[in-house]
């Protein structure tokens, strides 16, 4: 860093160093806490994902059976006009300055179980099973979406915080320290120079007044 070696600069730098140290400590704490929560959440995410994936595969298997017993057009006709429409409200939760989403789902009709959009007369019972299976996994799917999104957001924030911590620890703070040392030494050097000069002048004056050697 290029600075003028003055006392004012020294004071300024010391203040900056203090701020940087405090910021470093805070950010480090933030990183550690975020990491702790992130690890918990990621573990949950993995577990939930495995569970949900298995369930989705299961529901897909149901659908495969349906496709084998009903024609494509019949399936489409049965499912074309859904009874339900799901909407979702997003509330945000602040976790260490990361806004993680919380989904609250709402159905258009009052009864959650009101899922079959077709009359049972012309469809296979397998279709009922498939629709029910899908309806059952929906809460888990939403939970998965919530956790997975949170993980992604937290990962991004942790990366940013980690970079900041490293920048402070390995670049900013050493740089400040070095500059402060430089100025301090320069000031001392100036002081010594001044003292020597005064001593020298004193000698000269004494010599002039009393012819001392």
């Amino acid at each position: 860093m290029h600075v003028n070696p003055t006392r004012m600069e020294l004071t300024n730098l010391k203040r900056k160093l203090n701020t940087a140290r405090r910021g470093h400590k805070l950010l480090k704490d933030k990183r550690d806490e975020l990491m702790r929560r992130f690890m918990d959440m990621v573990r949950e995410n993995k577990e939930l994902r495995r569970k949900v994936e298995a369930k989705v595969m299961d529901a897909n298997a149901h659908m495969a059976v349906v496709r084998s017993v009903m024609s494509d057009t019949a399936i489409e006709a049965a499912l074309m006009m859904p009874m339900q429409e799901m909407t979702v409200d997003i509330a945000e939760k602040n976790v260490m300055s990361v806004m993680i989403p919380q989904y609250r789902t709402e159905y258009r009709t009052a009864d959650d179980a009101d899922i079959f959009p077709y009359s049972f007369a012309f469809t296979s019972t397998d279709l009922d099973g498939a629709v029910e299976a899908l309806s059952d996994i929906l809460p888990d799917l939403m939970k998965l979406a919530e956790i997975e999104k949170s993980c992604q957001l937290m990962a991004a924030e942790i990366e940013k915080t980690r970079r900041r911590v490293n920048a402070l620890e390995h670049v900013m703070i050493p740089q400040y320290e070095e500059t402060i040392k430089f100025i301090a030494m320069k000031l001392e050097e100036n002081e010594r120079g001044a003292t020597t000069r005064i001593m020298k002048v004193k000698d000269m004056m004494l010599k002039q007044a009393h012819q001392y050697e």
């Binding site: 993995k46 989705v56 595969m57 499912l79 799901m86 989403p101 979406a145 992604q152």
Partner: protein, 103 residues
Amino acid sequence: MYKIGVMGDKDSIYGFSSVGLTVMPVEEPAEGIKLLKSVADEFAVIFITEKLASEMDVEIRKYRERTVPAIIPIPGVTGNTGIGLKNVSRSVEQAVGSDILAD
């Protein structure tokens, strides 16, 4: 108020329309990318079949750091390709520097 969508090949996603999700049948990745761009602000969550997700991975990554939409891969009729779990590992890698939870 946001909607919830499902994107992917028709066979994998049709069932979801009955439970109140918006289905968006997509055959080609290019089509999916275009569709995703145009509807991204309406949906809180978009479930996407793993096959399609792997084909438009670059596009999906752009949404990782946005609050909406959450783009979540799910297995389609073609089976489980493991890209979903890989996505989670990617988060760990981003946060920690290496995938310490790999198994």
